[in-house]
């Protein structure tokens, strides 16, 4: 394995860079020095990293939607609607799914068809195709920081284009934008590609330009137990820090039990800071992002508002730095700009009501934090061990060995032996632990929690329970009871 968790040398980086920029004609538009000058002029209130840092200092939670349409003018209109009408604090540009597979030629078809049909034929903004110029046009036409949100295993060219375009944050990571989003991309390849993206941000950091990076915490969005999500966040944070990233937002997708979710955000923040410090990265600003329910939504819009608002309450009570907003159209399709703004408005209302309020510490919350931390430790220790101290190597091997194993992921590089289910209070537990090296205590804890539900429902623990849980929220419940 060539991979190493080591800062890319300038030589290696610039050599790789040539190849990256050649990937599509717009690559030629990226001129690093010119980009540095451009980014230096980004005012604080339009810098993603700074906005997050300020929010963290103030103890408030920012709201960010997801949104992206294929054509530049429509995309600008959309973002401005979300900012002005919706009240979004941070803006996104969701990249379309062809770009995510680096199929820029198909993007062109999508752009052309969208022009022809007069409606969006793609699910996002093809930033690479629009190039630095297109991205700057977007950046210059809005009043808030903007971030690329996607799901791209190899986002190197995308990262080059968007950052040069004035977008001061990039979501993703070598695990989180591979395993839930790809089938046959090796972990080694995606880790390596994301090292490049991180190094690019590190390079900018060395020029005095703060750019934020955000691992995608929810992964498959489907019953991912907190500790598994946190492990990926911690790993991606450590890998990013090694490449010189100074602003990292670790994330987590709502599971639905309030105490577990708050515990997850607290554990996520504490562990990330702790691991970073332990490995010598002392000047990284860690912030957190809480994703409103990422699994199947109810079709009914009023019910969707309920899901959105409860997720927001959890985010606020947890003290997350930002919350990613769903919309009342979630179950059906990409939202109209009105539906998207509606989701933001409900979210902001709840955030405002809860400003400054936190879930107080309690025995229950403490216990959840402890179990999450203990679970994370088992996986992290083994991962370092497998890599003989090298986290990148360890991560590849941990996936091979099923030590890290993400439920419902499409990737062939994911073992797929872990199965989650909800306990009788709706907390997500490990039903089958696959090859995760948990201690007996941890396994027993998970089993006994699930046992309570089994008993209550008078049925055996089985895959059917997991399936019922998958559909439950869509059908208007948290727990998939028979």
């Amino acid at each position: 394995m060539n991979l190493k968790n080591k800062r890319l040398s300038d030589e290696a980086f610039f050599k790789e860079r040539e190849e990256v920029l050649a990937g599509w004609p717009t690559g030629k538009e990226v001129d690093l020095q010119e980009a540095v000058d451009y980014l230096k002029k980004v005012p604080d209130e339009k810098n993603f990293a700074k906005a997050l840092e300020l929010a963290k200092r103030k103890g408030i939670t920012l709201a960010q939607p997801r949104a992206g349409v294929p054509l530049i003018d429509k995309h600008i209109e959309l973002l401005n609607h979300l900012s002005k009408e919706g009240g979004a604090d941070l803006l996104p540009s969701t990249i379309d799914a062809y770009s995510r597979q680096n199929r820029y030629d198909e993007c062109q078809v999508g752009i052309d068809e969208s022009l022809k049909e007069g409606r969006a034929m793609m699910n996002g903004f093809p930033a690479v195709n629009h190039g630095v110029k297109g991205c700057r046009q977007v950046y210059e036409s809005i009043d808030k920081p903007v971030q690329a949100r996607h799901g791209t295993p190899d986002s190197r060219l995308l990262a080059e284009v968007i950052h040069a375009g004035g977008w001061t944050s990039n979501e993703g990571g070598g695990i989180s934008y591979n395993v839930p989003y790809a089938k046959s991309v090796s972990i080694e390849k995606s880790l390596s590609d994301w090292m490049y993206c991180d190094r690019l941000v590190g390079f900018y950091a060395e020029q005095g330009i703060e750019i934020n990076r955000e691992p995608f915490g929810p992964l498959t969005g489907t019953l991912v137990p907190p500790s598994m999500a946190i492990v990926t966040g911690v790993i991606e944070a450590l890998l990013a820090a090694e490449q010189g990233v100074k602003s990292i937002t670790v994330g987590y997708g709502q599971c639905g039990n309030l105490v577990q979710d708050v515990a997850a955000i607290r554990a996520l923040e504490e562990l990330t800071e702790q691991y970073l410090k332990e490995y010598g990265y002392n000047d990284v600003v860690v912030t957190t992002v809480f994703h409103q329910w990422m699994g199947g939504f109810p079709e009914d819009e009023s019910k969707a508002f309920g899901v959105i608002s409860f997720g927001t309450a959890t985010a606020a009570l947890a003290g997350a730095t930002k919350v990613i907003v769903k919309t009342p159209h979630e179950a059906i399709g990409i939202p109209t700009k009105e539906a998207n703004a509606a989701g933001i408005k409900a979210t902001k209302m709840v955030l405002n009501l809860l400003e400054g309020q936190r879930l107080p510490m309690s025995k229950e919350l403490e216990t959840e934090i402890e179990i999450i931390k203990a679970e994370v430790k088992c996986i992290m220790d083994k991962t370092f061990e497998l890599g003989s101290g090298d986290l990148a190597v360890g991560t590849v091997k941990a996936f091979e060995a099923g030590v890290i194993d993400i439920p419902f992921a499409p990737s062939n590089y994911n073992a797929g032996k872990v199965m989650p289910a909800r306990d009788n209070n709706g907390a997500v537990r490990y039903y089958m632990t696959g090859n995760i090296p948990f201690t007996k205590d941890i396994i027993d804890f998970n089993q006994s929690k699930l046992g309570e539900r089994s008993e209550f429902e008078k049925r055996e623990l089985s895959f059917q329970m997991t399936i019922d849980d998958i559909f439950a929220v869509g059908k208007g419940k948290l727990i998939g009871r028979p």
Partner: protein, 138 residues
């Protein structure tokens, strides 16, 4: 009696895996033999799998919104490959955004699909239709 065969997959650059796993489980439980080509599957993979296994039906899922582009020409390619009367079903969130369903359905029927399902359709609905359609053919 030999089991009827269904090729199952998620078309295009679409990585939504959960529904696929559930459909696999439910079809298998209902007595079908499932050839699951998984997510991120181009049209060719569906066709090749159907030819190789001599399948009775193809279940196409598209969740992410590009269904309309991704599904275009599938029926024609099936015909070219000699899969003339193979049943073609499609489901998921097959278009971008909240659109008039009758309209959407018509567009996909016109493309040559035998059955078209709206968002959130239960696996059981598709399976019931499949059993019916197949029994009609005997």
């Amino acid at each position: 009696m030999e089991k009827k065969k269904v090729v199952l997959g998620v078309i295009g650059s679409d990585a939504h895996a959960v529904g696929n796993k559930i459909l696999d489980y439910s079809l298998t439980n209902a007595g079908y033999e499932v050839v699951n080509i998984g997510v991120l599957s181009p049209q060719e993979d569906f066709i090749n799998a159907a030819i190789e296994t001599n399948a009775d039906a193809i279940f196409v899922s598209s969740l992410y919104g590009h269904g309309e582009i991704d599904c275009k020409g599938l029926r024609e390619k099936c015909n070219e490959a000699g899969l003339n009367d193979i049943l073609l079903y499609v489901g998921g969130n097959i278009v971008v955004g909240k659109q008039d369903w009758d309209d959407v359905k018509k567009r996909f029927l016109d493309m040559g699909f035998d059955r078209v399902y709206p968002p959130g359709t239960a696996a059981e609905v598709g399976i019931k239709d499949l059993t019916e359609d197949l029994s009609k053919r005997g």
